[in-house]
Subunit: 606 residues, 2 copies
């Protein structure tokens, strides 16, 4: 069973040497409190909490799952106490305004927290995670009164929150939402309808749960422009903030899921539940999209988390378990067979996991800084700045969410593969990681939806390719000073440079084709997403390698081994993972007829 240990050495390397987080915080309007000492204290404290409190509940939480009895949901043993400790530690309000009881720190610290918590116990992390979505909505769209009522207990963690979007007939296609909101004489609304797949919809961790609900007014236009947002709390809230009666919203059932079994996924029945409109009438869907970028980066973290955890499980097994001899002869001469790690194919699997986890970490830490700027600009009331960073982040988001979760899932499966048949046995905990990871490419928009968002919306519609041009310019700028370097850095820099040019050309070719044949977008988007992911991860691996090389050449470096292994992992990425992009490149340029020509009725013959 993997024993989670926060990878502090790598986290610090990335924060301080790959990126300049100290400088970034210093330049951020709400970053003043995020001094290096404070950041260290947060990381250390969070690591301890995750290793000692959350990680031990991961396997037992999966085994026990959640139970429901007449609408009352019980979380697995230990979750309630862990949540209480989490709330008492002030962790929920880390990046929320001090006026509501938070610590007002930059939101990137929330992502670091989510990374550690999610790796230790993804199911647990979803409870406070959904509250964040709720809090962000109330904070950005709520009235002053609504904020004063709902924010303090949400920020303290005393209450939890959810996002109620999906209905039985629609997930991605929220234009089809049917839940009704009938206006009442007192200005409130009565909501009636069924929501499904509601994470944390009901549980025993808090005494109140605040639902953000998408619903339609009786006179609302059809489709996306007729959806409004409502606050519906489990317990009605009196004007003074105290709890009133039970509202008519109830968990009808828990879903039986492949994984994240300790996370309560509820069918929520609204039966004339009293709610309050939040934000503008009929503009609910727009408001939801505001948080899409940050929510999706939060899900990208799951890819990193499960690659990391599966690696942490597989590595000690590969060091201890023995089988056969390495092809190049005896390695562990005192034993009749060699440790798995001596076998090149096992090393290939471990290094894939490591390259994915650390590559994803760099991609996410980079995006987190953009998110910091975006959040800061809201507080600053600087709309132009907000839109600039939102647009930039918008390019990263589908790549991070789509690509990192796909590779996280692959890495989780490789961890099972290192264990051989034992990987399939529940007690070892490796198959749980693969089951838990499996949801990440499905929720918050499937990989296919991310791919359409990237190629159709972000690249073609919104920026006409400029987002790719801008990022590839960054790739070139990073690589250029190292093109003539000897050794691995020079080799990787040249490869990255060439790839940047290739990506530019490819994007232009796709744009030209899409102008003639609209099917190109949907037929090519998956391969374009994966291709873009490999390119972007390559860029951030080069960035890590350059930083490691710098560390290596500094006199008296005490971390020589760390830096060397870092460069070696980068080499592995460039030699063994990046070439996968070639298959995607060829495929995305294939004629659309190979996908589109088959008659819908000819997919099968009895």
């Amino acid at each position: 069973m993997p024993q989670y240990k926060a990878p502090l050495r790598d986290m610090r390397f990335q924060l301080n040497e790959v990126f300049d987080y100290a400088g970034h915080y210093a330049g951020l309007s709400n970053g003043g409190d995020a001094t290096p000492d404070m950041v260290e204290a947060i990381i250390d404290g969070c690591a301890t909490f995750c290793e000692e409190v959350l990680a031990p509940l991961n396997l037992s939480g999966d085994q026990e799952g959640c139970t429901i009895n007449d609408g009352v949901v019980t979380t697995p043993k230990g979750f309630k106490e862990a949540y209480a400790e989490y709330a008492a530690g002030g962790w929920q309000g880390l990046a929320h305004p001090q006026e509501y009881g938070g610590q007002g720190l930059p939101m990137s610290l929330n992502l670091l927290k989510a990374e550690m918590m999610g790796t230790a116990n993804w199911s647990f992390t979803m409870y406070p995670g959904l509250s964040l979505g709720c809090m962000n909505t109330v904070f950005q769209f709520g009235s002053t009164e609504q904020k004063n009522i709902y924010m303090p207990p949400l920020v303290s963690g005393e209450w939890a929150g959810t996002m109620c979007l999906t209905e039985p007939q629609c997930g991605t296609d929220l234009a089809q939402v049917k839940t009704k909101a009938e206006p009442q004489p007192d200005g409130s609304y009565k909501l009636t309808g069924t929501k499904i797949f509601i994470s944390s919809g009901e549980h025993d961790l808090t005494n109140n749960i605040v639902h953000i609900v998408l619903a339609r007014l009786p006179d609302a236009p059809k489709g996306t422009r007729g959806i409004s947002l409502f606050i519906v709390s489990k317990m009605l809230v009196n004007a003074d903030g105290s709890l009133g009666e039970r509202n008519a919203v109830k968990a009808g059932a828990l879903e039986h899921k492949m994984g994240i079994r300790a996370s309560a996924t509820c069918v929520m029945n609204f039966d004339g539940a009293i709610g309050h409109m939040i934000g503008e009438k009929n503009k609910g869907l727009e408001a939801m999209f505001t948080f899409m970028n940050t929510a999706r980066i939060g899900t990208a973290v799951q890819g990193l988390a499960h690659a990391e955890l599966s690696y942490q499980g597989a590595l000690p097994y590969a060091l201890e378990r023995r089988s056969m001899r390495a092809l190049t002869g005896k390695k562990d001469v005192d034993h009749p067979n060699d440790a798995l790690i001596w076998h090149a194919d096992v090393r290939r699997m471990l290094l894939t996991q490591r390259a994915v986890a650390e590559g994803a970490r760099a991609m996410i830490y980079n995006a987190a800084m953009l998110a910091d700027h975006m959040v800061a600009s809201v507080a600053e009331g600087d709309k132009a700045k907000y839109e600039h960073f939102d647009s930039e982040l918008g390019f990263y988001t589908p790549i991070l969410k789509g690509f990192i979760t796909e590779l996280g899932l692959e890495s989780a499966n490789l961890g099972m593969q290192v264990f051989g048949g034992h990987g399939y046995i529940k007690e070892h905990g490796m198959e749980q990681i693969a089951r838990d990871a499996r949801i990440s490419t499905l929720y918050e928009g499937t990989t296919g939806i991310q791919a359409l968002d990237l190629l159709g919306r972000k690249v073609l519609l919104q920026t006409r390719g400029k987002c790719v041009m801008s990022f590839t310019n960054d790739m070139i700028a990073l690589a250029k000073p190292h093109l003539l370097d000897g050794g691995p850095i020079g080799k990787m820099a040249r490869a990255s440079f060439k790839r940047a040019v290739q990506w530019k050309i490819l994007t232009v070719r796709l744009m030209l084709r899409a102008a003639k044949d609209r099917d190109v977008v949907s037929a090519a988007c998956y391969d374009f997403l994966m291709y873009s992911g490999y390119m972007m991860m390559g860029h951030f691996w080069l960035k890590q390698a350059i930083a490691a090389n710098k560390g290596l050449t500094q006199k008296g470096s005490e971390s020589k081994e760390f830096y060397t292994a870092k460069i070696q992992t980068a080499e592995f990425y460039f030699e063994r993972l990046l070439p996968r992009a070639d298959g995607h490149k060829k495929t995305m340029l294939a004629p659309t007829s190979s996908i589109m020509q088959m008659d819908n009725n000819h997919f099968t013959f009895g």
Copy 2:
């Protein structure tokens, strides 16, 4: 929940039009009874049994699982009755000699049977499947007396069998087997030891279970050359074949597994159990390897099965479920949104599943004919013929097992992906397919072991590349007459021709490198396996397309739609799946240092 329907149209197409099974059986020494009418009757009867009896137990079997109580294992509801029907139908002895009560038909019919049964219910199919391994061992290595005692009840299905190889300290590395066999004065042995991961080790389907056990004599040499085979039956068998007392072999526990939950995977404790040696002393491991090829092709069937079943689940959902509009505008004009199947990215996933299932079917049906010849040559006592076919099959085996199970797993996951979030919910049955499929790349030798077997043993050691040269010559011979054809056939033939030449060159390059650097074999083998799989599947897709084209050009063809869709699926394969080989090609030629250079202690830093 997928409703299994045997894909008879495609099975018949492959048997009669892609391959000439009628001609094949006519030329086989034990093929006389396998007339076209007989084959049709077997396929039809088996399809009905699978659709009506086995398929309905698939989801319930997973939900219920097996239970153990003081060594007594209970299978899920309905399994016992289904097994009784299976045995009564004479299905178990289909391809076993008539002198022991079987039908004496070619073994390829067993693979067709396994394909249908396994797709309908893989867990169930493992019970009779393990018996086959046991029967084959007794038949090929048992004394006349042993055969007379054990074969009739095994062939009738009255008894079941197992293979007891794995122990806690060793799976792949069977040289480390520790179970002891002490000779007794009466010529029998007493076996003591623990075996794990024993499929069908204990259950309630039959009144006796015959275990084939790997164990060591007290004076046995260390390692692989000191392992012998023993028959240990659950109930001791009297000389007249009647059942005697309970033997000292007992299931100690059931493994808790990710999937195939209705298959009883047992820890088997041998506590001085009485056994009889089978075959030659100390040559047990060699004997085991005799069946490796056929057993591994049996596991390759699992890749086909789960690709097919997941496709059968995903297709109706994609036709019915609606979401958004297709990018090229309204398709289902009477609805506010279009069926999923109109979205190119969904078509990509469905066509991948279909291309994998049908491509794998062709690969397996081809190998099954070689297996027929191999089995026939045993009966004929023609050792040279046996070795010829064993060697030829030996090249196909790791590719089929390794590649098809990897793609089957991918296809099972794509089926979940088509369902979106609903794919994660147990009731739909799609996640079960992914969990069941997950074992296929782990057991019967992991993908890494298949890869080493292919590149290290079959290509380099045993044939010095000749197996690749021979297969690529077949590719060229198939493609050559069509190189100048217009339309898709010509295009695919030219692609296959080029790929054959590329594969030849690549193999030579790898051989030259491996001669200098032994790490090449282990570092490149995974990519070589996958590359080879894509090449081979391409060849068999071209073969299908040519056969479909022939059908299409025949006057008055009533299956025009079928043939057209078949060629379109082939095109999809060539345009969208085959290009993945490029990534594998580049990766396998990467320097081994990118995998080998990292110090074992530098894989992680605290």
